[in-house]
Symmetry: C2
Subunit: 398 residues, 2 copies
């Protein structure tokens, strides 16, 4: 187990290859079947890999990203120039050690960073898909990932891991392709989207669709961008990613101008300025229609629905090893939802461990420097890797 | 103590006069001083009364309304035609028994149902105030209420009571006019607006200001209404008024069309349809600029600010009797905030009782049929009324 804090890991001495970004064109012979009954194809999948696939092809970890994530686990991000979203976890010497594992992350179907989605051109019209893009599901996203693994010649994943919507994909993987997933780590997730979360998503969608620049979804063809609506959607969602204690700790009622309030509608409070910044920077990197389609996929997610509401049946006979992780201050995907997944896994006689990490960082803790979370993760992965006979990462010569 | 469930109270046999609606023009000789340093006047205050003021003028209860409330405790509401917002609590034979008390509720300063606010005409321009209206505070709202009481010849309130922003006004009353408030009942409130609540308010304001029909605040002069932005603001806020368990109980993942989802962006889930309805009906009765000004007043509210952050000092020497009430599932104004108020009152040696009502109804429980809350309220008021020598309400002859 690597106890080095990730941010201080021996990045400069990484023996494995750095991250590489790729695209694959899939479904060239026949289109992909969608849960809606429709078909889509060929499709493009943009993905990033880091590390080296071993000869047995047994060390692959699939990282599933969240709603507004992408495949840039490692940066620089092509739009923002910033570090990747999971650099703190994935890399040589880090929790998911790319000297030991071959790590893959693909931009989800419906995304806007290279994988087929509403921003891409519909070959039938020569115009961006927009609202003409088929409504997709978490199942469809995972089906596209399975096709990518076929393309890469990887039959079985050592592990599928992800937080938030990534956790939904991880659970979907375990249910749809149980024989292809040795271990599954759903973090801060659920087996179905709750009424409150559907409500928050709906508010975001209404904010986007209320923006005249959204233009019925045709803004790209018309050279417009629904910036204001998308920013409001992001600001609302962003509040749900944090916890009240974290907001209080970070901002409290601190003013932008310590001498006093302005008696106006400028950003008097630091928390207002922070939110506005979150909204403004988000619209530069994300597509409004992608936001609609991906939130809809989350809303539709319900693993128990096909089993008369009995979640345990979805996992019947599974051989996958599960490590379910939640965060104590996460009110978007509260621990109770992870517990329900664990109960169902127990009822299905699955091998499952469960950790609720105590933190005030809220839902976004899976993206942050949260040592107890990282320890849980590396403990689980290292134990599993030893059992699977994966050679340890090379010793740090220092 | 009246144990009759309010909804079944002997309304038809009410001995006291029914509710009457009034307006008063105040500050005709000199304008009202505002916390911003500005002045405003004359001002109009719209208010409703029910019951009869006794000869000693000692039985007056001031009801303070919440963000989107108004003075129509009793309906019919002039815009919606619906019952008043607190009919379940206020009326003959009800918890706040108008056969015993003279009950007053005024539309807050900055409101949009008759009291001076951004929708009213600015006499200096002959146009609606719009953003030219001065930014007001909870202190200003309460100052206007005090002027109204002067106008009515009421020196001391038997009780000031209100939920949410109403609780802010109640606490402000107790701090600004301690000698004029015999009892104070702040329900589901706080002594200052939290970072998370400022954040939610800011999202609502941004949604309104992002609507092109808001038109820099001048929509009224231009014959427009920022319906979409105001609806998004309302939908976001509405989620915060409920609890996750209540949303789950009421809606869960129930579909509008039980045969399945539409694979589209119509309201597939009942919770979406409910939210859209909340947004659409709100914009018919509320003014977007009022929403901006009133949320701003809430954000600015911090009773401890003038006392170096030590809330107890704000209550030093108070003789007011307090009954602080919170709801266990309220995450907008969680019990912890009421507890902090109670701690400060204890530290100031005030007489205070505190009840956390166990309910899954969330913040909005103060508006709903919540028997444990109503029992708490009538118990406190009846005890106080006996002590004060107010004659009991006439016996029900049946």
């Amino acid at each position: 187990m690597n106890d080095t804090p990730p941010a201080q890991g021996p990045l400069g001495r990484a023996p494995g290859p750095g991250p590489t970004n790729h695209t694959a064109t899939l479904c060239t012979r026949e289109p992909m079947r969608l849960d809606s009954g429709g078909e889509l194809g060929p499709i493009t999948v943009a993905y990033q890999t880091q590390g080296v696939l071993n000869a047995e092809r047994s060390n692959a970890i699939l990282v599933c990203h969240a709603l507004t994530g992408d495949h840039y686990m490692q940066g620089p991000h092509p739009v923002t120039g910033k570090p990747g979203w999971w650099e703190i976890v994935v890399g040589p010497g880090r929790v998911i050690d790319t000297r030991r594992y071959f790590v893959i992350c693909s931009n989800v179907l419906g995304g806007c960073l290279g994988t087929t989605g509403p921003r891409e051109i519909n070959p039938a019209t020569g115009q961006p898909w927009g609202l003409g893009f088929p409504v997709i599901t978490i199942g469809d996203m995972v089906r596209a990932q399975a096709l990518l693994l076929d393309h890469l010649g990887i039959d079985t994943l050592f592990c599928a891991i992800g937080g938030s919507m990534g956790a939904m994909q991880v659970l979907q993987w375990a249910v749809a392709y149980p024989e292809r997933v040795r271990a599954a780590v759903p973090i801060a997730g659920s087996w179905r989207h709750s009424a409150q979360n559907i409500a928050f998503n709906e508010v975001g969608r209404q904010a986007i669709m209320a923006d005249p620049d959204w233009s019925g979804g045709d803004y790209l063809s018309e050279g417009r961008v629904p910036r204001r609506g998308l920013a409001v959607a992001r600001m609302t969602a962003h509040i749900t990613y944090l916890s009240e204690p974290a907001l209080h700790r970070k901002f409290g009622r601190k003013l932008q101008n310590p001498t006093g309030v302005s008696y106006g509608f400028d950003a008097d409070f630091q928390v207002e300025s922070y939110l506005r910044h979150q909204g403004a920077s988000f619209v530069k990197r994300f597509d409004a229609n992608s936001y609609l389609f991906i939130t809809r996929a989350m809303d539709y997610f319900d693993l128990a629905a096909a089993h008369d509401g009995v979640l345990a049946r979805a996992f019947q006979g599974t051989k996958t090893r599960f490590c379910v992780i939640s965060f104590s201050s996460d009110w978007l995907f509260p621990t109770a939802e992870s517990r329900a997944v664990v109960r169902a896994l127990n009822a299905a006689a699955a091998r499952v461990s469960f950790v609720e990490v105590t933190t005030d960082k809220g839902h976004d803790a899976f993206l942050l420097d949260e040592p107890a979370f990282h320890d849980t993760l590396s403990g689980f992965l290292n134990g599993l890797a030893e059992q699977a006979g994966l050679p340890p990462a090379p010793e740090d010569p220092s």
